[in-house]
Amino acid sequence: MNTQLLLIQVFNGLVNGAFYALLSLGLAVIFGMLRIVNFMHGALYMLGAFAAFALGQLLGLGFWPSLILAPLLVGLLGVVLERGLLSRLYGLEPSYNLLLTFGLTLLTQDLVKQVMLSRFAVSSAPYSPPEVLSGVVNLGFVVFPKYRLFVIALSLVVCLLTWFVIEKTRVGAIIRASTENPVVTRAFGINVSLWVTGVFAVGAALAGLAGVLAAPIYSVEPYMGAELIITTFAVVVIGGMGSIMGSVVTGFAVGVLAAVGAAVYPPIANTLVFILMALVLLVRPSGLFGLPEGAR
């Protein structure tokens, strides 16, 4: 394969990387702050895409309003989930919330399937990019869809913003303190459980945002998150559980790896990430950007 084709695939990989980054960012925020392994993240992503489709069908809303509204709705659902269900499991082993979120995933998928079939009579929903972003643009070395460029740009902005808020602002400091040592933080008069709910909602909204962004390029169907979530977990593990920088950088890197892999030897494309994960776990068990458990 020549260098130009390689360059094209590296560039192309950034798009998938953008989805991995957004999703693993949400997972990492939730895990890093709350120690919840949220298996439902893929279903929340699907709900984001489905919400965009449903808002369009029922209210006639286009892509732009949905881009704001759908993540908000998914974030709201996150509040309900955290307050209503997850918060009851905080004292128990992590495997309990893993089982809970996994069960909820199955329920959500089947529910959406029923709604899509009975209300909209489709098993996969049509959705198009907005007019301004449809079509392709010639970048010199490649002819590339405009919409995909937008995906890369927007996700980069969102990732940087999240990192900035958590690492550099007072809000971030409160969130970090609330999770590091809730008892002491409460002593300072801060309502910890409120912040915890907020963080979960933001993580869920990030998944919803990734879902809306995916709707114009991937098939919108009940199981669209099922495959993606597995890769996303691998991304989080490689980046270091709970590390924000780690999940963003690894997300983009894994996207590129998969795209180049698909061009060089397709059968290995979806396996590469797991090979990388195994290697990282052997050499650096806490992940590329993660601190060892004892050092936290």
Binding site: L5, V136, I217, A262
Partner: protein, 404 residues
């Protein structure tokens, strides 16, 4: 071995002889079992619509044959597209619910599992929505019939038509499992036989897969005249969605589709598929006869029929007619009545049931998807390019591997 079998058959024949002279039905009736996908990805194209189609066939048959009035019933069962479930359900339907014939069976692996059970239990199975050619080759058996279509017919129809219309250089991607590998092999053969070539070797993609951009970019640089996709269901929807996104059509790269269902077109809107060529056994507005049946179906079910559902009606009707000719629902007698039988109905044109492998031969249509603006009414998605006569549409016996 052969002698014993002959002896057993002779004995059975003797035992059955008095009964066969009159109308004789097991448990006083004929029960048609629609084994299908009632909840998953193929439920829109088969599912409840297939059950409804079989019911219509049963009613029409009873109306035309008064002796059978009230004696034909239909049972719909979900196989969830899983081979193990399909096998278990088939056994349950035959043993406990006294089903005399299985029909539909989407998903090749599920169809293979169900037909194997039906073979063991000497029950007629008519596969309509399953695609694998194994049903009439390595896995063929006395009780299994393959209706409507198969991989060979798809590749032979589309590969030939597209190549002859000038699409003579291809780059093909296929999902890396039995169906995709088989369809790719057949498609490459059809393209090459018609003087076409591969612009690049076919690529096996992971299955299931959502992002196909790497392959679309490869197509951009390889510049074939046709980008061939052997994906099905959601994977196909993803490929076509992204084919449009990357604007390949405007760059002069056409789209060749291995297996296309009406529901795939509905999932993206017909403009996304416009110009694509595919091969189908039937479509609802093909002619006055198909229109007439489609109208009845739509009235009863609320939606236009897919070709899979029309095929289920036709297969059920042919089975019941064979029961009427044999004057019994005894499987061996019905198989005998079906083998070599020629017929022509609204779905299967110039049809013959080939006795050697039980492939139902029928005329098939090479179609091109219309753009939304060319569409004259709701659901008007196909323009017929040409008809492949029954004798040429399916795998010739010289290539067939069936030993019955």
């Amino acid at each position: 071995m052969n002698k014993t079998r002959t002896a057993v058959l002779a004995l059975t024949a003797l035992l059955l002889a008095p009964a066969a002279s009159a109308q004789s039905l097991s448990d006083g009736g004929v029960k048609v079992g629609v084994l299908t996908d009632l909840s998953g990805v193929y439920s829109e194209l088969s599912g409840q619509g297939s059950v409804k189609a079989a019911q219509m066939a049963a009613e029409d048959f009873m109306k035309a044959n008064r002796a059978y009035a009230g004696k034909v019933s239909v049972l719909g069962v979900d196989h969830q597209n899983k081979a193990d479930v399909a096998g278990n359900k088939a056994a349950e339907m035959i043993d406990r619910q006294n089903v005399d014939m299985l029909v539909d069976m989407p998903t090749s692996s599920a169809a293979l599992a169900a037909t194997e059970v039906a073979r063991q239990k000497k029950t007629v199975a008519m596969v309509v929505t399953g695609a694998t050619t194994a049903l009439t080759n390595e896995k063929c058996n006395k009780y299994t019939f393959h209706y409507a279509y198969d991989n060979y017919m798809l590749a032979n129809g589309t590969g030939t038509a597209v190549t002859k219309r000038g699409g003579n250089s291809w780059y093909i991607i296929y999902p890396n499992y039995a169906f995709g590998q088989d369809l790719n092999r057949q498609m490459v053969a059809a393209v090459q036989e018609n003087g076409g070539k591969l612009a690049a070797p076919s690529d096996a993609t992971p299955f299931p897969n959502t992002d196909f951009s790497s392959y679309l970019l490869k197509a951009q640089s390889v510049r074939p005249k046709i980008f061939g996709t052997m994906q099905a269901g959601n994977d196909l929807v993803n490929v076509v969605k992204q084919y449009n996104e990357f604007g390949l059509k405007k760059q002069g790269i056409g789209l060749g589709i291995g297996l296309l269902f009406e529901t795939d077109v509905a999932a993206l809107g017909q403009d996304a598929f416009s110009g694509a060529i595919a091969t189908v056994p039937w479509f609802w507005n093909f002619d006055a006869r198909s229109r007439q049946w489609a109208g009845r179906f739509e009235k009863a079910f609320g939606k236009k029929p897919t070709w899979a559902q029309a095929g289920v009606y036709s297969a059920t009707m042919q089975y019941l007619s064979a029961v009427a000719r044999a004057k019994t629902d005894n499987s061996d007698a019905v198989v005998k009545a079906l083998e070599g039988y020629s017929f022509d109905d609204f779905f299967a044109r110039n049809a013959t049931i080939r006795p050697q492998d039980h492939r139902v031969l029928l005329d098939v249509q090479v179609v091109q998807v219309k753009g939304k603006s060319e569409s004259k009414e709701a659901g008007d998605i196909y323009k017929r390019l040409n008809t492949i006569p029954a004798a040429k549409a399916f795998m010739p016996l010289s290539e067939n591997k069936c030993r019955m």
